[in-house]
């Protein structure tokens, strides 16, 4: 079976119940009937505003919580089918996450060596004829960091970009096949964002690592991924090849998202009377998208748009 997708998400739903002190409980549909496929060595971008369910979707695939309905298959096997701790650990090894905040995702009391040595030994990833130290060094070289200066540094001695490389290294150390990167560049300086994207791109091309890239930045999504899924209110509103979505978005929300990306070549209209036109339009699109009950329809091969 060569055309089996590496990751298959089938009809996944998740509802959170919020219990507040002052009012009754409230249901939040974080994910509603999410389905997509992602081939081995490919990258898919989940794009949407905060609260659209894109991070929830990534976390569901990483197995960080139980889903209410549907199934998630990694390499053809359901992630919920693991029966013992060995199988669970194997699932965890294959699917790794890189988080948005490089400052919070490393332990400030441990060195870089510890951050890489620990996953290596926990998952028994040191092959015969090699030592733990050699493997740590090899992993650091994979993410273009110099082992001779990095090994004994603590997270506070590293820049944001270096920390994010350590986070990627940690995922690589255990032999991750799918890396779920949740806004990995949004807390980094603009001047180093591209280098992290380039590193991910290289890992994808040279190592065949599959990426699920979660972002609200359509430009970087287009840069890294083959396909993009635009999410709103826990649902996918448009899915298709990234360059087509950027060139010719079909769904009203995708168009809104795209038109909001800062474009240096267009001055914004500074007329006070019309200053709020964009805002009104955005509210209208959001309300219509939230209220629509249309199904996701295939408009051309591999291209899906939710009907109004």
């Amino acid at each position: 079976m060569t055309d089996q997708p590496y990751l298959e998400v089938k009809g996944v739903s998740k509802t959170y119940t919020l219990k507040t002190i002052f009012s009754g409980s409230k249901q939040v549909k974080a994910l509603q009937d999410i389905s997509f496929k992602l081939g081995r060595g490919e990258a898919l971008a989940l794009v949407g505003e905060s609260g659209s369910g894109k991070s929830t979707c990534g976390r569901a695939i990483a197995g960080m919580f139980d889903i209410d309905a549907g199934d998630i298959l990694v390499n053809g096997k359901s992630i919920t089918s693991a029966r013992n701790s060995k199988e669970k650990r194997e699932n965890a090894r294959k699917v790794q996450m890189v988080f948005q905040d490089p400052f919070a995702s490393l332990n400030p009391t441990h060195t870089v060596r510890h951050h890489l040595a620990r996953p290596l030994s926990l998952h028994s990833r040191v092959p015969d004829g090699s030592t733990l130290e050699q493997e740590v060094i090899r992993t650091l070289e994979d993410v273009e960091l110099d082992p001779s200066v990095m090994l004994d540094k603590y997270p506070h001695e590293l820049s944001g970009g270096q920390r994010q490389r350590i986070n990627l290294a940690r995922a690589l150390a255990v032999g991750a096949e799918l890396i779920i990167a949740d806004e990995p560049t949004s807390m980094l300086d603009v001047s180093i964002r591209r280098s992290i994207l380039n590193l991910m791109n290289r890992l994808k091309k040279e190592r065949g690592i599959t990426f699920l890239y979660i972002t609200h930045d359509l430009a970087t999504a287009h840069y890294l991924t083959e396909n993009t899924a635009v999410m709103f209110g826990g649902r996918i509103v448009e899915f298709g090849p990234s360059d087509l979505i950027v060139r010719d978005p079909q769904h009203a929300y995708s168009k809104l998202l795209l038109s909001s990306v800062p474009n240096a070549h267009t001055r914004i209209n500074a007329d006070f009377e019309h200053a709020r036109d964009f805002s009104k339009f955005a509210d209208k699109v959001r309300a219509e998208t939230a209220a629509s009950t249309g199904a996701l329809e295939e408009i051309s091969t591999g291209r899906f748009v939710r009907a109004a």
Binding site: S50, V190, L197, H222, Y223, S259, V261, A264, A275, A282
Partner: protein
């Protein structure tokens, strides 16, 4: 360009931070000016000193940071010569500040109205009724239903909070607003909404803006002139058009290249 057109004039500004290893100079002799009604963008990466400049302009630095030298002239007045009392009255009425994180700029245990009232009362000594009337006016100005005045900050969305912060900066009709990454924590769509709002208000009231951000593309949509900062120094200042079409300094070019745009095709497999 005559001197009187300049609303803000900064000459050879130096700001130091005292560290255990001696003073660290975060701003190394910066010259800049902003004309009346002009939007000046200040761009650079984190740690380059752009927020330090914003704080220095309002004299908000507390030890270990201090202004080590230079002149700041706002509307013909020497800001560094103000005593504490003058400074307190001057801040917000002449120049106000919008921070990056609206959630941190608002007091979580005060309602939106109480935040307006505090500033208004302190500066004008007017009654609560008058403050209420002004607050309603400002909320309408930034497009929020005035009934939300009695809400707490956590009850508003991120975009609404940023609008409230903007309204609060406008309360005393300042002639300049310093905006330190006013849209960075927001979603792209909301970011565009807020930018549109700022541009509209600026057009209506004609105040000057010092707009600090690391997003050059966003800045060139809005600023009249742009200053590029690197390691405590301004390396290039030019009109937004020239910075975009004809960047001179290597670092400016580097900043442009650092952002993937839709024209990039190299990454797509």
């Amino acid at each position: 360009m005559t001197q009187s057109e300049r609303f803000l004039d900064v000459k050879d500004l130096k700001v130091d931070y005292m560290t255990l290893d001696g003073p660290f100079r975060a701003v190394k002799g910066v010259d800049l000016h902003i004309n009346r009604g002009e939007v000046l963008g200040l761009a650079g990466e984190s740690g380059c000193g752009k927020s330090t400049i914003a704080y220095a302009l309002m004299r908000l630095h507390r030890p270990p940071a201090f202004i080590a030298g230079g002149d700041i002239t706002v509307d013909g007045e020497d800001v560094l010569a103000f005593d504490e009392e003058t400074l307190a009255q001057w801040r917000w009425s002449k120049v106000s500040l919008v921070f990056q994180s609206a959630m941190n700029a608002l007091n979580p245990v005060l309602t939106i109205f109480e935040q307006f009232r505090d500033v208004y009362h302190r500066h004008t000594g007017k009654s609560t009724e008058e403050a209420r009337a002004r607050a309603v006016e400002l909320m309408e100005l930034v497009g929020i239903d005035p009934v939300r005045l009695d809400d707490y900050p956590h009850q508003l969305s991120g975009g609404m909070r940023q609008r409230v912060v903007l309204a609060n900066a406008l309360i005393l009709e300042p002639q300049m607003i310093i905006m330190d990454e006013p849209t960075t924590a927001l979603d792209v769509v909301v970011q565009r909404e807020i930018l549109q709002e700022i541009a509209g208000l600026q057009k209506k009231f004609g105040f000057s803006i010092l707009f600090i951000t690391h997003d050059l593309a966003l800045m060139s949509q809005f600023a009249d002139r742009i200053a590029i900062m690197l390691k405590g120094e301004i390396v290039e200042v030019n009109s937004a058009h020239e910075i975009l079409h004809n960047p001179q300094h290597d670092y400016t070019k580097q900043l442009w290249d650092a952002m993937p745009s839709f024209e990039d095709a190299e990454g797509v497999a």
